[in-house]
Symmetry: C2
Subunit: 344 residues, 2 copies
């Protein structure tokens, strides 16, 4: 079938999962299995991203996407940020690390130029709406441009800058919520089905539906609601091609982790993960991304090194209990077969 | 088609909306139009509920459901409750009313006996899981028993007491969230599609899907995800048969109300409504239902009398912008026609 001009067997996109889980092997495996794999450009330098793109291409895969994080506002409530970071210092000391906040632009411009010069099939943006000239330059280079949105208002903005499609992210999704209009609005979190419905009434852009989709029946459900595809991340998190750490993969299958919740505690931006001690200890945190994300990085890495699942982020969508430790190709094939069974 | 042994034209249930919106006329109109209408037994005396049932039957409708609220725990954090109620007194004084908390059992036993003696097609329960003998007595009387759940764990409990089906309520839903296992769990709110998927893997019970469903495409989507029907409330809130006040109906169509959020501010139990001044002024409230609901009732009624939409609850689901001021029969027929169009 056709997905925005790209040939796929099933309407399944492999979600970009920045910070480790997405790997060139996983991306290639998803595309080869009949979906559209994605590299996660977030947190990478342009050189590292170029290397990952080369690796996917070396694996003989030419249809895949790349996701970029759009830089946000450096200005935050410094007082609230300082107070919050002070509350983290006892935990940081336990790990022997510093807590240093820093804004950065995630090498956005360099990675953008890389992609314009070496265009992948699709580029999706998260945490912001790029200006129309950026969208047009990518399109002129032959790339489909997708903007991740969490509200109908954000979908309108994506339409106005000329995007080819939106990725509608529901509150069910694992990892960071992509809100860019107002991350602090009360209960900004739309459920996926209501969001897809509302966006379909707001814009004529195709919609890729993301958040909590774990099965072929759920893929078929979002397609019936009007989406052109579903984007699955957590469903692939435990597979051998995923770069998630063994500790993280084990936590996803550990019956002691029964809940997910959204939190700003790790990064200053709302994100969904398995509820652990750190999240419980810090129920509130200011909106300050990537300042807090950079401040907690050393602690999170130290926790990872000590295999302590309670002091690092364990991003996971609401459906994580259905994630399986199987090769990515098997997971995509099983979900695809179920999609076929319910749609024919 | 068949809905738990009840003949309907479309897999559409009219949600019970307690406190006014559900009326015998609305209930009858939904059933006659091809769905299954529901009376909202919550907040009514047994006599008032008997009267409403008689009115539906007088309208020649025999297939409909009745919803009951299961009484909760009288014990709450009294200190937190007092502190919260003190914070409401300035607003109450402005309206010249008292703020008096009270637990009650919502006449549960009397209404249950009424229904066992005069069994409707379906009885659904909200805010709790009735014991298996209550479920069995209703079933013996010829009624299908549905328990409203918000998590897979609650669905398991419903299975254990012998319910015929669960109503899976997503975080998108307007009005009160039905959580009964742990209303204070962090971010208990499952998105509807992920919840239906998880419950289908947890139990073999049929699932009625509730929360943010506004269109025939969305009804078809939840059916594809494995639900036997969708339950729609907000979609019917503005219709002439709805008992919602004119002020409330006007607010649903007022572009100044752009957001919904969940709040405990009005009732002590998390519920979704249009964000108004009262919700903004009281971002936090303790878990104490129905104590706070009873305490704020006089103020909410006074605000209604003054047509002040900012001091009363305006329950609405996330998809409220798609609610239409059309007769219920037209709304059901339009949603049904869209369902037919996407499923055939």
């Amino acid at each position: 079938m056709d997905l925005l001009g790209i040939s796929v067997r099933w309407p399944i996109v492999g979600a970009p999962m920045a910070g480790g889980p997405s790997t060139p092997t996983l991306t290639a495996a998803v595309s080869r299995a009949g979906g559209l794999g994605f590299l996660a450009g977030g947190y990478l330098t342009a050189e590292a991203l170029a290397q990952q793109i080369a690796e996917v291409e070396t694996l003989g895969v030419s249809s895949f996407g790349v996701n970029l994080f759009v830089p946000g506002n450096p200005e935050v409530d410094e007082g609230a940020l300082d107070t919050y970071l002070d509350s983290l210092r006892p935990e940081a000391e336990r790990f022997g690390v510093e807590v240093t906040p820093k804004w950065d632009d995630d090498h956005f411009s360099e990675k953008l130029e890389l992609l314009i010069g070496h265009p992948p099939s699709m580029v999706s943006f998260t945490f912001g709406c790029p200006p129309s000239d950026v969208v047009a330059r990518l399109q002129d280079a032959g790339t489909r441009v997708v903007i991740t949105v969490t509200t109908p208002a954000e979908a309108s903005m994506a339409t106005q800058v000329g995007a080819d499609a939106v990725c509608a992210q529901g509150i069910e999704a694992g990892g960071h919520q992509a809100n860019f209009v107002d991350d602090t609005a009360p209960d900004a979190g739309w459920g996926l089905l209501a969001l897809v419905t509302a966006i379909r009434h707001e814009t004529h852009l195709p919609v890729i539906a993301a958040g909590g989709v774990m099965t072929g029946a759920a893929v078929a459900a979002v397609v019936r609601a009007g989406a052109v595809a579903a984007q699955l991340g957590t469903a692939l998190l435990r597979c051998p091609e995923s770069g998630a750490s063994e500790m993280y993969k084990a936590a996803l299958a550990d019956p002691r982790f029964t809940w997910t919740s959204t939190t700003r505690a790790f990064s200053g931006r709302r994100a969904r993960g398995l509820v652990n001690d750190f999240m419980r200890a810090h129920p509130d945190a200011p909106s300050a991304y990537p300042h807090i994300n950079n401040a907690t990085r050393a602690m999170r890495q130290a926790a990872l090194a000590r295999r302590d699942p309670h002091a690092t982020n364990l991003w996971a969508g609401q459906g994580f209990a259905l994630a399986r430790d199987r090769p990515a190709a098997e997971i995509i094939a099983a979900i695809g077969a179920e999609f076929d069974a319910v749609t024919t």
